[in-house]
Symmetry: C2
Subunit: 254 residues, 2 copies
């Protein structure tokens, strides 16, 4: 009868920990500040390190913490709004926007992409690989699949390769025009190559944005872009500028 809280529904420890630490982040820490290391924190809360880590993982998933091996755990800035809806009739990366370091090879796309492009399952396409940078940070890694049929002028000059070829392919797409697009978003985990470019570990949670581009009455290209789920809030429209921190939601009045 000493305790004020009946334990009829025992909340998991890591869940309670997450709440406690989350509140501490709001009140006692500022963005960029370094937390005590995991062994100290675990001792301080009287739990095993694995349990403490479970709580930190959740907070990292929600974009509130950033952990780097060999460095430490820091308080993450609010997620940035990343606009994913280009104007309906313009190819992204047109001029001086945030896509960088294009590379281009010829490869057979995954069957799901081939299906969208309506090409044969083993037909190779131009495959542009590029990274989207914001504030000097990589936020997305993209593969853009462009069937030969969409860039008919190309085969004549297959001399350039790598970045040079990528630029040529993108320029040809501009000339093609764009009639519309289609999008889907789902949760995934970063492949090893994407993880490297996004400065994360393999398996890190990412938002996979699949875009179908239409031109001349058919699917002219398909893009698969993986966005860092921890740092990005994908926006469609003008919502991007707003300062939203979703965890505010936690404490709402009844």
């Amino acid at each position: 009868m000493g305790t004020t809280q009946l334990e009829s529904v025992p909340e998991p420890k890591y869940w309670h920990l997450k709440t406690v630490i989350g509140e501490a982040l709001d009140s006692d820490f500022t963005v960029g500040e370094i937390l005590p290391n995991e062994r100290d924190l675990a001792a301080r809360f009287g739990v095993a390190r694995a349990t403490l880590r479970q709580a930190l993982e959740q907070l990292e998933l929600e974009g509130r913490l950033q952990r780097r091996r060999g460095v430490g755990t820091t308080v993450a800035p609010p997620r940035m709004g990343v606009d994913v809806s280009t104007s309906q009739h313009e190819w992204p990366g047109s001029d001086t926007d945030a896509w960088q370091a294009a590379e281009c090879t010829v490869a057979v796309p995954p069957v799901a992409v081939a299906r969208m492009l309506d090409t044969d399952a083993d037909e190779a396409t131009h495959t542009v690989r590029r990274v989207r940078m914001i504030h000097g940070q990589p936020v997305a890694a993209e593969l853009l699949f462009v069937p030969a049929a969409s860039v008919p002028a190309l085969p004549a000059i297959d001399a350039p390769s790598g970045p040079a070829l990528a630029r040529v392919v993108l320029r040809e797409l501009q000339r093609l025009g764009l009639e519309g697009q289609d999008r889907a978003v789902e949760l995934g985990s970063a492949r090893a190559d994407d993880a490297r470019e996004l400065d994360r570990l393999p398996g890190a949670p990412v938002l996979v944005v699949t875009t179908r581009y239409f031109a001349e009455g058919r699917t002219a290209a398909v893009s698969v872009a993986t966005y860092r789920a921890d740092t990005c809030r994908l926006t469609f429209g003008d919502l991007g500028d707003l300062q939203i921190s979703h965890h505010d939601q936690e404490r709402r009045a009844s």
Copy 2:
């Protein structure tokens, strides 16, 4: 010199496990089939159960497995495409679509929502709570915040409450018309109440869709909908019908 694989860059065990099991799912299992239990699987692969679980967690995150306490682990069906872009000038849930079990209270919204609504931080709004069902399964739990200013006809008849009031509020919104909307998607983890309605454990990964509805030149309502990240692929446009399994992406030709 007996091994064919040089271990210069030792891949984590759970990562390798995930790949192996993932391939087995493609070749040896069918949707809905039950996997051996975790203790058996761990023994079979010669790893600790915690390591095996790390691999299963990743596969579940990618929507390829479904685990239920007391039951077992089953092969998940491909994610379903859920259309999130209602026609630009129509409120969702208009007539016979997939939103259900509306409830309505009056509550102070989280400050992030109040900011979008341009209401005072402590001003209460009508708060409609409903669940989106597809194929008999709950896929999303939504909170719709409607300031009193958006439904001026209401205060006169505040007699009904609960589901009845919810329907009245939604009907009033229809009358208001809709000029446009705005959306953002980010990764989150399910709060306890959402988790219950989505038939998941608290903390389960969800895609949080924040929508701003415009009418009469201002923000008429804000919706915060949490979609099950394991079973849903959010679509914007017509992409929803396509049969995409994203993990096809894994094995692409070089």
